[in-house]
């Protein structure tokens, strides 16, 4: 097994860590960088499913949103420890992901996508329409979390380092997964699920395993979000957010891990920058997507062999 952290990756993370020392990283850019890296990390964990296992999840917003609500519920009750937030997010998202992946992995291809989508919609409907978690307003005006008793993460720089640390952690996890034997089996499942089964691998177990890893990583990212935004709203759980996650992966390039990080950061920065100039930024974002699908189908950092998503190919059995 190769070292999960290559020299190049280590240099990039070092550069990210030094970035706030540069003079042009204002508060605004730090927060933008927070979002870019956070959603980049989510896209990377989604890539474990789509790019490496060939499972297209259309319900990752639920994992992210449940993570965010886990943290928000604790912060609202003045339990400010970030570690407790992360712990609760792991438990909540883990249990939900166990349920979803148990059922969803019984189906392949577009049915897997639809199952994850519908499960996520149930979560969205519950949070949006019951008042327990604030209904459509969500939970607002949250205090900042603390990493140690009395040490609050309440500055943009603090949040930035938090997200860089998280990205570093998530990247190591994902790299380790894809280069392990487990990851090789996932690739085998992507290439030919039946053959993997005939070789004796318990395919549903592997699929559930990777779903859990991806979901929990996404949930952890969600738990960091209220610390920066001071709110958690049901919009975070909406299926269009799941669609955006998918788009980030596609923009970046399936099955590359680094590509989706870039894709996520690209989409966040694009949305932010275009929306500061024009009101109709959705049109620009939509057009960029269309152009990428039509002309750069392998993503900004393309997959070097042919793209294989067996399950979604029409008519394949």
């Amino acid at each position: 097994m190769s070292n999960p952290l290559s020299l190049r990756a280590a240099l990039v993370f070092a550069a990210l860590a030094l970035l706030p020392l540069t003079p042009w990283m204002s508060k605004y850019y730090l927060l933008l960088a927070f979002d870019a890296l956070l959603f980049g990390a989510v896209a990377m964990s989604l890539d474990l499913l789509i790019g490496y296992t060939g499972l297209v999840s259309f319900g990752h917003a639920a994992f992210f949103g449940l993570g965010a609500y886990s943290a928000a519920v604790l912060l609202e009750r003045e339990v400010s420890s970030l570690w407790l937030s992360l712990g609760l997010a792991v438990v909540v998202v883990g249990l939900y992901a166990l349920l979803v992946s148990y059922f969803a992995t019984t189906r392949r291809g577009i049915y897997f996508a639809l199952l994850t989508l519908i499960f996520a919609e149930v979560v969205y409907t519950v949070f949006r329409y019951t008042q327990t978690f604030g209904g459509s307003d969500g939970i607002q005006g949250l205090p900042p979390p603390s990493i140690l008793p009395g040490v609050l993460v309440d500055t943009p720089v603090g949040n930035y380092y938090l997200v860089v640390s998280y990205l570093f952690f998530a990247y190591l996890v994902c790299r380790t997964v894809v280069s392990s034997h487990f990851g090789q089996v996932l690739a085998a499942i992507r290439e030919n699920e039946d053959r993997a089964r005939f070789l004796g691998y318990d395919v549903p177990r592997y699929k559930m395993g990777v779903c859990m890893i991806s979901a929990v990583l996404t949930g952890l990212a969600g738990a960091l979000y209220p610390g920066r935004a001071a709110y958690a709203t049901p919009d975070l759980l909406h299926w269009s957010i799941s669609g955006e996650f998918l788009i980030m992966v596609m923009i970046g390039g399936l099955g590359t891990l680094v590509g989706p990080i870039i894709g996520g950061a690209f989409l966040i920065v694009l949305q932010e920058k275009v929306s500061s100039y024009v009101q109709w930024y959705s049109i620009i974002v939509g057009l960029v997507l269309i152009v990428i699908v039509l002309f750069v189908p392998k993503g900004l950092l393309g997959f070097r062999g042919a793209l294989r998503l067996r399950g979604l190919r029409r008519g394949s059995t």
């Binding site: 049915y111 519908i118 409907t125 699908v293 039509l294 998503l309 008519g315």
Partner: protein, 289 residues
């Protein structure tokens, strides 16, 4: 009890008929191109807004009912040629992402042109009719009759006309059809235009009952997806049957539950269907699995 059940049943039929028009186009496109068209909800919304524009120009709902689907059909055809045609030989996932992008563009374009406010279209038929011991709004009866007649017409088109049979053949096996000398890309484009026009009709027909706003398609598309799955993806008859089933189930459930619980109940049914019988009512076994 009957006095409570009957209106709900009729509501369900009315909504089911409109939902059938919407889902029919979605399932045909799915069968043809293998693409779950995320922009279908926006075509539905376009129908309502094109209707508002046509009514603004001519003052007539009936003119709008012809003009709006034509206009949206043209938009559909142009979209298909410009964006979907290059994707024929690619993974369906690209189609999904592409239509997601189209949906963003369409929604925002409408918001820019007409603004984000809720709008209403007045029903062109007023009053209500005494029916089986209750009174029921005439417009809804008209909607039911019109949509049902249209569904019947589409069924005749697919079973009795050469063009309809070609479309069905393309759903079954586009390559074989190509080999037989049919201009398959043109079939795809025209079918996409037809599917867009049907969505537009559904949007305009429901506009006097619901409200018109840029997000209306987003609210509707998931339900249409559910109908398509329940009917069996790619099965036209299945999606019409499923549309009525969902329409009636939803409206009967509202007697006992609030709308959110109804939504969750429908999702629950869907989850069970997907796990137990993913091919739905009439889907072919093994396809897409």
């Amino acid at each position: 009890m009957v006095s409570v059940l009957l209106p709900q049943l009729l509501h369900g039929l009315v909504f089911g008929a409109a939902l059938g028009l919407l889902a029919l186009g979605l399932t045909v496109i799915f069968g043809l191109l293998g693409v779950m068209n995320f922009a279908h909800g926006e075509l539905y919304m376009f129908g309502a807004y094109a209707g508002i524009a046509a009514i603004g120009l001519t003052g007539s709902f009936w003119v709008a009912l012809i003009a709006a689907p034509l206009a949206v059909g043209v938009v559909g055809a142009l979209t298909e040629v410009a964006t979907l045609r290059p994707l024929y030989r690619r993974e369906p996932l690209y189609g999904l992402i592409l239509t997601f992008g189209l949906a963003l563009v369409f929604r925002e374009a409408v918001r820019q042109i007409w603004g984000g406010d809720m709008r209403r279209i007045l029903p062109p038929v007023e009053g209500s009719t005494p029916l089986l011991g209750m009174t029921y709004p005439n417009y809804r009866l008209f909607l039911l009759a019109f949509a049902s007649a249209l569904l019947l017409g589409i069924w005749l088109f697919f079973t009795r006309t050469r063009a309809g049979i070609i479309v069905r053949a393309a759903v079954q096996d586009a390559e074989m059809l190509d080999g037989l000398g049919v201009n398959v890309p043109r079939v795809f484009t025209l079918t996409f235009a037809g599917s867009a026009a049907l969505a537009a009709i559904a949007g305009l027909l429901l506009a006097p009952i619901f409200t018109v706003y840029p997000q209306m398609g987003v609210e509707m598309i998931l339900l249409a997806f559910i109908v398509v799955i329940l009917g069996g993806m790619g099965s036209m008859g299945g999606s019409v049957v499923a549309a009525f089933v969902i329409g009636i189930t939803q409206s009967l459930l509202t007697l006992w539950m609030n709308p959110q619980r109804v939504a969750i109940a429908i999702f629950g049914i869907m989850i069970v269907v997907l796990i137990v019988r993913p091919r739905g009512f009439f889907g072919r076994e093994g396809v897409l699995e």
